[in-house]
C-alpha cells in the first residue's frame, strides 16, 4: 500500500443513479415483501405498500434512463464493452472466480487491474450487463403492466396472461433480494473494506501504481 493513485471511475450521473437505485431497490423489496406477505409482516398497510411500491417503481424507471442515457451518450460505455475474444473473456472470468473462491483467502492479489475505462472485472462486466439490460428492464416492464392491467391488457395477453407476468416479476424480485445481500459484501472486498463504497460517493478509486 505504498504509492496510491486516484482515478476518476464513477462520474456524477452514475453515482446519483447508483444510490437512488440502491435505496429504491431496498424500498421496493420491503414494500414488495409487505404486499406479498401481509399475513406475516406489518410494516405498513397493504394499501400503503401498494401505493409506495408503485411510486418508487416509477421513480426507478425514470432513474434507469439516467443510467442508460449517460452510457449511451458518453464514451463511458466502453466500460461495458465486451471482451471480443471469448477465450480471453472466459479465462479472465475463471481467474476472477478462482480469486474470490480461493486466492482471496490465501492473500493473492486481485487479478483485475482497474483503470478509468476498465473499472469492471470480467465477471462484473458480464453480470452487470445481464442485470441492467435484461433483468432490470424486465422487472420494470412486468411491474408497469401489473400497475394497470386493464390499460395494458393487450401486452399482458401477449406475454401469456397476468399470472405469467406476475410470476416473472416475483422470480426477479427473488433474484434481486439475493443480489442486494451479496452485492454490498462483494463491494467490501476492495483493498480496504470501505474503499469501493467511498469511491461510489466521491467518484475516485485509489489504485496501486
Amino acid at each position: 500500500m505504498t504509492d496510491m493513485q486516484r482515478i476518476y471511475v464513477h462520474p456524477l450521473p452514475v453515482r446519483i443513479w447508483h444510490w437512488a437505485n440502491a435505496l429504491g431497490f431496498i424500498a421496493l423489496i420491503l414494500t414488495g415483501v409487505q404486499i406479498r406477505y401481509v399475513d406475516l409482516i406489518g410494516l405498513m398497510s397493504f394499501r400503503a405498500a401498494v401505493s409506495l411500491h408503485n411510486w418508487v417503481g416509477w421513480v426507478l424507471v425514470g432513474n434507469f434512463f439516467i443510467w442508460l442515457g449517460f452510457y449511451l451518450f458518453t464514451d463511458k460505455i466502453r466500460v461495458y464493452h465486451p471482451e471480443l475474444s471469448p477465450v480471453k473473456h472466459f479465462r479472465d472470468s475463471f481467474r476472477q472466480l478462482q480469486y474470490y473462491g480461493y486466492g482471496i483467502f490465501k492473500g493473492d492479489p486481485n487479478p483485475h487491474h482497474l483503470s478509468a475505462y476498465h473499472k469492471f472485472n470480467a465477471l462484473q462486466s458480464m453480470a452487470y450487463q445481464i442485470i441492467m439490460l435484461l433483468l432490470v428492464p424486465l422487472q420494470f416492464v412486468t411491474g408497469v403492466l401489473l400497475w394497470d392491467l386493464k390499460r395494458f391488457s393487450g401486452a399482458v395477453e401477449f406475454f401469456g396472461g397476468v399470472r405469467v407476468v406476475d410470476t416473472v416479476h416475483v422470480l426477479l424480485f427473488i433474484f434481486f433480494t439475493a443480489f442486494i445481500l451479496v452485492h454490498p459484501y462483494l463491494a467490501s472486498l476492495g483493498h480496504t473494506p470501505s474503499a469501493h463504497f467511498k469511491a461510489m460517493i466521491t467518484g475516485y478509486e485509489e489504485v496501486d501504481e
Partner: protein
Amino acid sequence: MTNSAPWVGSAAVLLAAALMFAGPASAALTDGDNACLGCHGQEGLQKTFGKGESLPLRVDGAAFEGSVHAPLGCAACHSDVELKTHPAAGKSFDSVRAYSVAKAAVCEQCHEDAFKQHEGSVHAKRMREGSALAPTCTGCHGAHAVTPKTAYQTCVGCHSAALAAHQQWLPNAALHHEVVSCAACHAPAALRMVDLRLHDPATKTWAAEKAGEPWFEKLARSVDANGNGLDARELLDLVKRINPAGSAAPKAFRGRIELRSNVEAHRLSDKAAAIRACDVCHREGAEPFRNVVVSVAGPDGRPLRHAAQQEILGAASAVVSLPEFYAIGGTRSPLLDVLFVVALLGGAGFPLGHMAVRWLFRKYRASRE
C-alpha cells in the same frame, strides 16, 4: 276514488276489439295467458293513477315466454285478476310507485329467502325512509322478463356515478368492478368464492354451452376421477381437453369473486359497512379464496359449476392452467415462497460463509505478508 269507473261501460266493446286485433297467440303459453296478452300484448292500453300518472299496460309476450316464469303463467302473480270482472274490478293506487311496490309483494310467495334478505338491505331501508327511487324486486329484476342472467348490470343503471366514486379510494377500480361482483363488497356478511369462468378469446365473451349440447358437467366429472373437486393436475387435464392440441385461440378460465349463494346478493348494506380493507382478499388463505369452482355459462345464462380444490390457485402448474387469473395474496404460490426463503438464506449465507473462511485463513495470510 276509483279509476275503473269509466271502463265499466265500455268493457264489452274493448273485449270485442281485443279479440279482433289480438296478435298471433303463442303456442308455448296457455290459452289463459294468451287471453290476457290478447289485450295486454297491444300498444296503447294504459292505467291512470290518482295523481294523474299513467302506466302503459303492454306486456311483451315474447320476452315473457323466454322468462323463467313462463311456465307459471300470468295467474301465478295476478291471481286477483278474474277475466269476468276484469278490468273493472282493478284496485286503485295513488301513484305508479305505490302500485309497483304493492305488486312486488307477490314475489315473496315463492322467493321467501330473497325477500327476507332484501327486507334488511339498504334499498329496503331507504324505501321505508321514503326514497321514491330505491328498488323493490322488480327494480332490479323487472316483472315480466326475469331471466337468470346477472342482475348486476342493473346496478350501474341507477348508480352510474359508482365507478367514479370508487376510483377515489380503490386502486384499479375499473378492473375491480370487472372481476369482483358488487355484492362481494356490498353484502359484507355474505360468504364469497372464486368463480373460474371459461372465457373465449375468439368471441371475447364468456364461453357458453349451446342448448341441447351439454358437455361441461360430463367432462368435468370424468376428469375429476375421485369426485373430490379438481386438483391441480385434473385442472390441467380439463384445460387440455377443452383446448385440443393446436387450438388457435385457447379458451382460458378467468377468475371472479362472487357470492357462494346468489340469494345473499340481496343483503346489501349501507356503504359505511361495505368492504374496503384490501386484505380481505389480498392475503394468503383469504376467505373468498377458500372456495373455488370452475364454471361455464349454461344455455340459459345460469352458470354450470364444478367444485375445485383451493390449492389449484397457487399451484406451480397454474402458470399453464390459469394464466389469466392472479390476485395478490389469495393465489400465492408456495413454490415461490420456498424460492424466496432459499434466496434469503443463500444471499445472507454466502457473505457469512465467505467471511468465515477468510477469518480461518487470517494467520496463513499474515504469514505470507
